[in-house]
Symmetry: C2
């Protein structure tokens, strides 16, 4: 018999978080109850706020609490470049790791017919509409390297090519600072085949 049904329910609810199993969920529940009740209430409030107020940007589909995200709303961004990413985390990684000044389009997933995820779920009509509006000189495909992501990249490239817009993708190869011995063989083979002239 559980000591407290409410605590059991909290433990069960915490397991919806990725990477949290039954033992960590229990540790989290007791930690909050014993040491940090005000923070538990603050977390509850933050969850409610985010679910109720955060929606999708009407231009690029990333998460935002307004109608447009800060990138789309910024006047000084270069509207001639459009970078297509899988998720808002990828957008943030590019924002914080590069000095890219163009705009984004966030697919919020990849094409996956087996899971029933088709072009409509990725907002590709909206993507085509943006291409047809004109003013875009380059589409940068920054999707991942899974099979689904590569199929998605191929599908996107067809849409872009039909409209005669320049299309690029991120370079693949050996990560900076990584020794050759730690690189998987397919990356190494790719990097070897696509070797560049030394400048």
């Amino acid at each position: 018999m559980p000591i407290s049904p409410l605590i059991e329910h909290l433990v069960e609810s915490l397991r919806c978080l990725p990477g949290v199993g039954p033992k960590s969920a229990r540790r989290m529940a007791y930690h909050l109850l014993e040491r940090n009740r005000p923070k538990a209430l603050a977390l509850a409030q933050a969850l409610n706020d985010v679910v109720q107020q955060v929606g999708h940007c009407t231009r690029c589909r990333t998460f935002t609490e307004g109608e447009q995200c800060v990138v789309c709303a910024a006047q000084q961004r270069d509207a001639s470049q459009l970078c297509v990413v899988e998720s808002p985390t990828d957008l943030e990684a590019i924002e914080s790791g590069t000095n890219y000044q163009g705009l984004y389009f966030v697919l919020m997933g990849v094409l996956s017919p087996l899971d029933g995820i088709g072009p409509a779920d990725l907002g590709l009509e909206m993507f085509e509409h943006r291409l047809d509006e004109g003013g875009i000189d380059e589409v940068i495909i920054a999707t991942g390297t899974t099979v689904e992501a590569q199929a998605t990249a191929h599908y996107l490239s067809e849409l872009v090519r039909e409209r005669g817009v320049r299309i690029t993708r991120l370079a693949h190869g050996i990560p900076l600072g990584g020794g050759l011995e730690y690189v998987d063989s397919s990356t190494l083979a790719h990097a070897f085949q696509r070797r560049m002239p030394l400048e």
Copy 2:
């Protein structure tokens, strides 16, 4: 510039959970937003419920939403045995791992003068009061093996001994199923010194 201040706030709030750093917190926040908004709301509700409704048992100090916990309220438990544990998790471990039928007293911590945790914080007045009520034949000390926990056990044993009640503590030694090579040297030395006649 963060894409969404509300998401940043949720990421910050998730970091109050033990074992959750900035990267996992961000992954959790996006996971909830992208895939599991209803579960995020359920988690917020569970947190609110627990903080508002779960208090301490008036007999043993463990967590409960009623006045007394299910163990203290049960009629068939043996009131002559009282097991002292550090935390509700320890109580649950004993409940699920042994067939102990007595009652508990939960310290909700250990004596730690450096952190300002004294006898009053562990409810030791309540503990003495329970001893003085009579009817207890054996006090089982089931605190941990940290220096603070051992000092606490010593302090408790003085209180119990003054009243002429039998006092026991859990056996220390080599864990069942553990090879000698994996046991730390102080446990091994203890187990060797306290060797038992083979029955």
